[in-house]
């Protein structure tokens, strides 16, 4: 099974360790991981900002890079959601491309969804001593149906217990360029999320999207919380080792 790994631009630039953790998990489930090194961005920033032409160009690039794989997996509900649920909209006027896009969309997965529903991972290599709380990222939850999958996987991690926050499904306020265009509103939403996280007294908030991660971590630190860790679910599941 040849799995194309779409690392996502944010993981690539900000937290490469998440990419390696994801690969370890995929390989532990028997996948043969393929990483096209020309990959950059899925095009979502352009798409959501109304720049359709650039979104189309980047979508085309992703399709060309990954359509030879059995699956495309990304450690992000947002980027995988872009490919699975929005790419077709970009090619409604281009039937030949649309067919290719739809074929790839059907094989595109968010990481935890893939680990649970395709690889059916029985155990995970990670270990975590402490309590975590899980934030459901919007696109993962509402576009990709990711809710039980990360929790099912976290339940397999020795030493880890989950304490739910009161509103795990409420947006953290990231929203891509929204976070910069409407910094004040975005910060308030992030602040609400931090309060909810802190009320659980969990050692870490765990989630599956880097945008939300940077947003929540950035706000926690600015609030003066230097303790609560902010971790990608792949890091927790894979445990720490190589880069």
């Amino acid at each position: 099974m040849r799995v194309g790994f779409f690392v996502t631009c944010l993981v690539d630039l900000m937290r490469p360790s998440i990419g390696f953790a994801a690969i370890r998990l995929l390989e532990s489930g028997g996948a043969q991981v393929y990483v096209p090194l020309t990959q950059t961005c899925c095009g979502q920033p352009a798409y959501n900002s109304g720049d359709r032409r650039d979104a189309i160009a980047l979508a085309r690039k992703v399709v060309e890079e990954f359509e030879g794989c059995d699956y495309l997996v990304a450690p992000s509900g947002s980027c995988s959601g872009m490919i699975r649920t929005h790419y077709h909209d970009l090619f409604v006027d281009e039937p030949a491309m649309l067919t290719r896009v739809q074929a790839l969309a059907g094989r595109t997965y968010e990481l935890t969804d893939f680990l649970v529903n395709v690889l059916k991972l029985a155990s995970v290599p990670g270990r975590f001593d402490g309590t975590v709380t899980y934030h459901d990222s919007c696109a993962g939850l509402r576009e990709m149906g990711v809710k039980s999958q990360p929790r099912a996987l976290l339940a397999k991690v020795p030493g880890l217990s989950v304490k739910e926050m009161s509103e795990p499904e409420t947006c953290c306020g990231f929203g891509g360029t929204f976070a910069i265009k409407f910094g004040e509103i975005s910060t308030r939403l992030a602040d609400n999320k931090c309060v909810d996280v802190e009320r659980t007294a969990a050692d870490a908030v765990v989630l599956g999207d880097l945008g939300c991660m940077l947003n929540i971590e950035g706000r926690l630190r600015r609030r003066g919380d230097l303790e609560t860790r902010v971790l990608h679910v792949a890091e927790v599941l894979a445990g720490k080792d190589e880069p």
């Binding site: 690539d12 630039l13 900000m14 490469p16 360790s17 990419g19 390696f20 990483v35 090194l37 020309t38 990959q39 950059t40 961005c41 095009g43 920033p45 352009a46 798409y47 959501n48 900002s49 109304g50 720049d51 359709r52 650039d54 979104a55 160009a57 909209d89 919007c138 696109a139 509402r142 576009e143 499904e169 409420t170 947006c171 990231f174 929203g175 891509g176 360029t177 929204f178 976070a179 910069i180 265009k181 409407f182 910094g183 004040e184 509103i185 975005s186 910060t187 308030r188 939403l189 992030a190 602040d191 609400n192 940077l214 947003n215 971590e217 950035g218 706000r219 630190r221 600015r222 190589e242």
Partner: protein
Amino acid sequence: MQVASIHFKERAHDKLNDALLQKNLVKFKTKFVAARKNAIVELDDFEGTREAARAIRQRSLDDLDTWIEIFEANAAARGATVLFAQTPEEVNRLVLDIASRHGVRKIIKSKSMVSEESGLDHAIEGAGMTVVETDLGEYILQINDYEAPSHIIGPALHKSIDEVATLFASKHGTPRKDVIEDLCLEARGVLREHYLNADMGISGGNFFVAETGSVVVVTNECNATLATTIPKIHVAISGIEKIVPTLEDVATLMRLLPRSATGQSISNYVDICTGIKGQGEFHGAEHMYFILVDSGRSNVLGSDVREALQCIRCGACMNHCPVYQNIGGHAYGWVYPGPIGSILTPMYVGLENAPDLPQASTMCNQCGVVCPVKIPLPDLQRKLREREFREHLRPWTERAGLKAWAWLAQRPALYAFASRIGVRMLRRWGGADGRIRHLPFGKGWTMGRDMPAPAGRTFRDLYRERETTA
């Protein structure tokens, strides 16, 4: 109503820093979200009902012209007059014409958001007549010097009991009352007299029913029942898109409307007004007028955001919107706030007058998930963003940033080079604790948050290294 949507950011800033409003908003949010959640489980097949409702609304819009003709014929057959207003100004002119024809001096109104679009109350007062709002929320706003509504079904829900108590005591000249029931009774006492001596009643319309020529009005306070039956003249004002083919359709939509709005299985009152009072009948007006308002709706119908017209005005999208929940309705600057308002306002008043509204969304899609008629709200916001991009309605800096990113992302070799340098610089910028406290091109971010510094090397570089050494 004056359009202030161009000042969205400044207004949002004020609202975020209004301590009293923030307290009121927390109360509002918890109440409505929980109420809807409890109410929708009463339906055996909520998702199926939603799909049916969407189909009804879509069918209504597909042949809107035909349904309007059928409605007009059936309403006329029952003695009502159907009028059409192309613009907000025409709404006011038609109402004033009707009033002057019948020698009207006092008008009572049940809630009509469409009449807020044209500032009808001011027009009526300008013509020397008295107008009294009878929906409790609208009444509160009216006696508070016509404060703007902040929500489409709870126009005054930005106010606390305390604020209303103070307002009533000062405007009514009565001893202050602090219990909700007492305040309601006081308003009822004031309004009762107006019902009895008004010459004309104006209502909104949740639905116009084509097969019967009826208007359906949904309320919780009985004020629409009184406003449409006691005065001799009833004028129902609503948008052309509110037409549905049959009463059966109304029954389906009514399974969702109150549940999505306030979490009620059914609203306290549902008035179905059909024709003028017939011989031997007790209720109904002697003269009945319908004003079907376009005011930009046919433009929406022919546009790529047409699905916005499916809206049945339940308010669920704003009740569940994290942005609305934190800034309230006034920040949006016009009649319709929240996610649906971010489509309708630019479409009705011009995108150039509300350029921030389609952008002021995290696209979390909570609105789309709760919408009872399945309007894909974030998709429609995106359509408007595309128009803004095409028509250069956003700041050039924003456009340049996006373009630069997209240009680079299409050139892998250059992207690899630039990102290698970029992450190294930012790593250094973040210092020993890896916290970037100030970003020159990302002030919006760092004004309230740190930017966690990148690890310093890209995944692609590390991966290539690993593969070549392995």
